[in-house]
């Protein structure tokens, strides 16, 4: 469904993404992990059209979309969330989500109805009239997801939506992500919380210093010494191994 | 019983950019009202007193229109003043809706009287009349001195006033034997006159003809002095500063010899001296607004006498048909033409000489001989 071909992005001297390629199969949940500053968010921005790459191409559904504007990509079904949440501060929760819903309906009533429905689904059902600035970090992350869902995407790009949740909350969110996938939305997600990555992802890519250093099944990737060296650290790798053994 | 007073509106910029002018005008008008009332008021109305109602045009057109409306509501018999052309244009129009007589003081745009508004009169000379006089006297001045001036540069502010004058100058000067080497426009307010002066230095004209407001004139004169540009003469038309005692006081060197063709009261009249005293006593510098508004009020009083009524239509009729004594303005008899322009209105030529501003033309009013050319 999504093919990222040798994308490169430079920021005045710094090569943030260096010839990185990945592919996301339709109906899958694909993970993208890597150390802080590896270029994951930058890669997302290029896929969603917010940054123009210095080299390489993005193919979506077999078509080259590298030159398309972000709103055009959104209309074609690509939705993203922002790592640093970006709510419409002056709007309440329902209105925030409605802006996404307007993509498929020009009617205010319909958009608000859909918004309420989606809010329910992501667990913001009780906060419809709350100002988005009054939500906690986690609430805002949900709002990000809800807004993206309201555009009825076919490909959903999630950037660290689980950060700041405690283990039990994470456990509660995992089914939600799967449910979204099961309704036919393909997901590409950036995550540092390995518990989630191991549980959700069909395939994982590891980006380090802009380069793709590993890819494959989550379990295999976590065994990769290069990945352990650059990203997991031996402690976390141990812990993961132990957890996997438990499960 | 005491007869009902006659209310007369004075529309002047009491606040805003032109506030100083408005203040000077008010002093003149108030002085005249006091004089008239002290002398027994309007005889034809059984000694009715004049009552001055002040309207603040805040130096802009909408406020001018609004103030005119307010004067109308206050029940004035006529409005005098206006000061700037833009304000006078909208204010007279507003007054026209009520057939309220409006006599303009020193706004000079020809268009003010050319629209044929029945209610509108102008006491002072308009652009065309003033420039005609200015040019005639310039030729005389030059001829008398043995034709030292051949080349002229015009420096003007880019508003209605400066641009209008420059246009007429450009049309007429060449036919009078002067070569215009450059016409330089600048905005008001100007932050700097150096570039204008540099151009003047490069062109080195015999005569500079400026028309702009006080601040810009001061800037230019100072910069000319500093840059050592010494034309044979500076001949302003409606120059904001050349007829200002403040300028003469503060920059005697830069002001020396500057000539102006401007509204100016008769220097020989004893009332002129009194007005000057009053203005000075109020801590201000005397300028032409005071004698004009003084005289204008006098003209108005005569018109009411003539009309024998404070009725607007009758006053308009009286103004249109009559001949009036012009107070201390050098206009001979004031008489308005079919369009409402005072045909006998006339600017005077003045020159800064020593610490004073002297009238040099016309001979009837002159109290000094021109010093020309100034630099050798």
């Amino acid at each position: 469904m999504l093919e990222v071909k040798a994308l490169t992005k430079r920021f005045s001297g710094l090569v943030a993404v260096d010839q990185a390629s990945l592919s996301v199969a339709k109906g899958s949940i694909t993970g993208l992990i890597g150390p802080n500053g590896a270029g994951k968010t930058t890669l997302f921005a290029m896929v969603a059209g917010f940054l123009q790459p210095d080299g390489g191409a993005v193919h979506y559904d077999g078509r080259d979309i590298t030159a398309l504007a972000p709103h055009v990509r959104a209309r074609q079904g690509i939705a993203r969330t922002f790592q640093i949440v970006q709510p419409f501060e002056g709007l309440n929760v329902q209105e925030n989500i409605a802006v996404g819903a307007y993509l498929h309906t020009p009617h205010a009533d319909e958009a608000m109805r859909q918004a309420a429905e989606i809010a329910q689904r992501v667990g913001l059902g009780g906060d419809l009239t709350k100002a988005s600035s009054d939500l906690t970090v986690a609430g805002r992350k949900r709002l990000e997801v809800a807004r993206a869902l309201a555009t009825k995407p076919r490909l959903l790009l999630l950037d660290e939506v689980l950060a700041g949740l405690n283990p039990s909350e994470i456990r509660d969110v995992l089914p939600l992500v799967r449910a979204i996938r099961d309704q036919g939305v393909t997901i590409l997600m950036i995550e540092h919380i390995m518990q989630a990555v191991m549980n959700l992802c069909d395939k994982v890519y590891v980006l380090s210093q802009g380069r793709m250093i590993a890819q494959g099944e989550p379990k295999a990737v976590c065994e990769d010494p290069q990945v352990i060296e650059a990203y997991l650290g031996h402690g976390a790798a141990e812990r993961l191994r132990a957890e996997q053994a438990h499960a | 019983a005491e007869p009902a007073p006659v209310k007369v509106g004075l529309l002047q910029p009491i606040s805003g950019a032109f506030a100083l002018d408005g203040d000077l005008a008010r002093i003149g008008a108030e002085y005249a009202v006091k004089e008239i009332n002290d002398a027994g008021g309007i005889k034809a109305l059984g000694g009715a007193k004049l009552e001055l109602v002040l309207g603040d045009s805040r130096s802009n057109a909408e406020a001018g229109a609004q103030a005119t409306e307010e004067l109308q509501s206050a029940g004035v018999a006529a409005v005098l003043g206006g000061f700037a052309s833009g304000i006078a244009l909208t204010a007279t129009q507003t007054a026209a809706r009520y057939d309220l007589p409006f006599v303009v003081d020193c706004a000079v745009a020809d268009t003010i009287t050319e629209r044929g508004l029945k209610n509108t009169f102008r006491f002072n000379p308009n652009f065309s009349m003033a420039t005609d006089v200015a040019l005639k006297n310039l030729v005389k001045l030059n001829d008398d001195a043995g034709k030292p001036v051949k080349t002229v540069a015009i420096v003007h502010e880019d508003g209605l006033f400066g641009s209008g004058l420059a246009k007429i100058m450009q049309q007429k000067l060449p036919s009078l034997g002067f070569q215009i080497v450059e016409t330089i426009a600048h905005p008001t307010p100007a932050r700097d006159m150096s570039n204008v002066v540099l151009r003047l230095r490069a062109l080195n004209p015999d005569l500079i003809v400026p028309s702009h407001y006080f601040n810009e004139f001061v800037l230019m004169a100072r910069t000319l002095q500093q840059q050592r540009v010494r034309p044979k003469g500076i001949y302003a038309v409606f120059g904001g500063a050349a007829s200002s005692y403040r300028f003469v006081n503060e920059f005697p060197e830069a002001a020396q010899g500057v000539m102006d063709c401007n509204h100016w009261g008769d220097p020989k009249s004893p009332i002129t001296a009194k007005l000057r005293e009053t203005v000075t006593a109020a801590g201000k510098f005397y300028a032409y607004n005071t004698p004009i508004n003084y005289s204008l009020m006098k003209v108005f009083a005569q018109a009411v006498e003539k009309a024998g009524s404070a009725d607007r239509a009758k006053i308009i009729e009286a103004l249109a048909g009559g001949e009036f004594d012009s107070g201390i303005m050098p206009y001979g008899k004031t008489k308005f033409d079919a369009k409402g322009q005072n045909l006998s209105a006339l600017p005077l030529n003045t020159q800064v000489q020593g610490k004073d501003i002297k009238v040099i033309y016309p001979a009837d009013y002159a109290d000094a001989k021109p010093v020309f050319p100034i630099n050798g």
């Binding site: 802080n36 009054d134 283990p167 456990r171 650059a230 990203y231 997991l232 976390a236 | -």
Partner: protein, 233 residues
């Protein structure tokens, strides 16, 4: 050293803290745990003077701080390393550290910076770089380093591991352990419950603006209810 009693605070009309009481003793690491939005960050903000307390008391080394302004609190040695780091992106790393000692006399500042560099050698390498260009982990180190420059007696860390890669998280906890070992009192707010409880001596569990459970970390770790609610086990 820190005694909080019946503290209440909120934003606008909504009360977030509804009577919080807790203590931190000298040299101790205390963890404050709780779900999203229960008011942990709000508690920290009240302690550091960013949000006014509406009722209750805060005593720090004997001084009443519930109505004190931020500079006074910092001077007293109660230093808060906030959620989301809040370093100065347009200043160099070194300048960030210098400002950490804004409330302290200039004398001895250079030595203190050297001490921080010794703790975080990476910061020394980046001394002249703009802080905004640091990686997430480095920014977190800088935030803590800046806190240390203020000569803390008690350091409040709000979610220091948020958004960090597993390797970084590991390093971060190691570092906190070292700081604790040097005798510094630490109040640690974390979602990373497992590692926090390993590090802390005591812990408080916050729910809905109230402390609902507290005790020794080792005891809490095996508390069944806690396990279900926070560890997802």
């Amino acid at each position: 050293m820190l005694e909080v009693r019946d503290l209440r605070a909120g934003y606008g009309g909504t009360e977030v803290l509804r009577g919080v009481s807790l203590d931190v003793k000298a040299g101790e690491v205390v963890a404050v745990l709780g779900s999203n939005g229960v008011g942990k960050t709000t508690l920290n903000k009240v302690l550091s003077g960013l949000v006014p307390a509406t009722a209750g008391s805060i005593r720090f080394n004997g001084a009443a701080l519930e109505h004190a302004a931020a500079p006074q609190i910092v001077s007293a040695g109660l230093i808060h390393v906030p959620e989301g780091r809040k370093i100065f992106p347009n200043l160099s790393v070194r300048e960030n550290l210098e400002l950490g000692a804004y409330c302290r006399p200039r004398r001895g500042r250079a030595e203190k910076i050297e001490q921080v560099y010794a703790t975080f050698p990476k910061l020394k390498q980046r001394a002249r770089q703009y802080a905004g260009t640091l990686s997430g982990g480095e920014q977190q180190m800088l935030a803590i380093g800046r806190g240390l420059m203020g000569e803390p007696k008690l350091l409040i860390l709000d979610e220091p591991s948020l958004g960090l890669s597993p390797l970084m998280v590991e390093e971060m906890f190691a570092l906190i352990a070292r700081l604790a070992a040097s005798g510094l009192a630490i109040m640690l707010v974390e979602q990373n419950v497992v590692q926090s409880l390993e590090l802390a001596g005591r812990a408080y569990i916050m729910e809905n603006g109230l402390i609902t459970l507290s005790g020794l970390a080792t005891e809490l770790k095996s508390n069944a209810e806690l396990k279900r609610a926070y560890l997802g086990l």
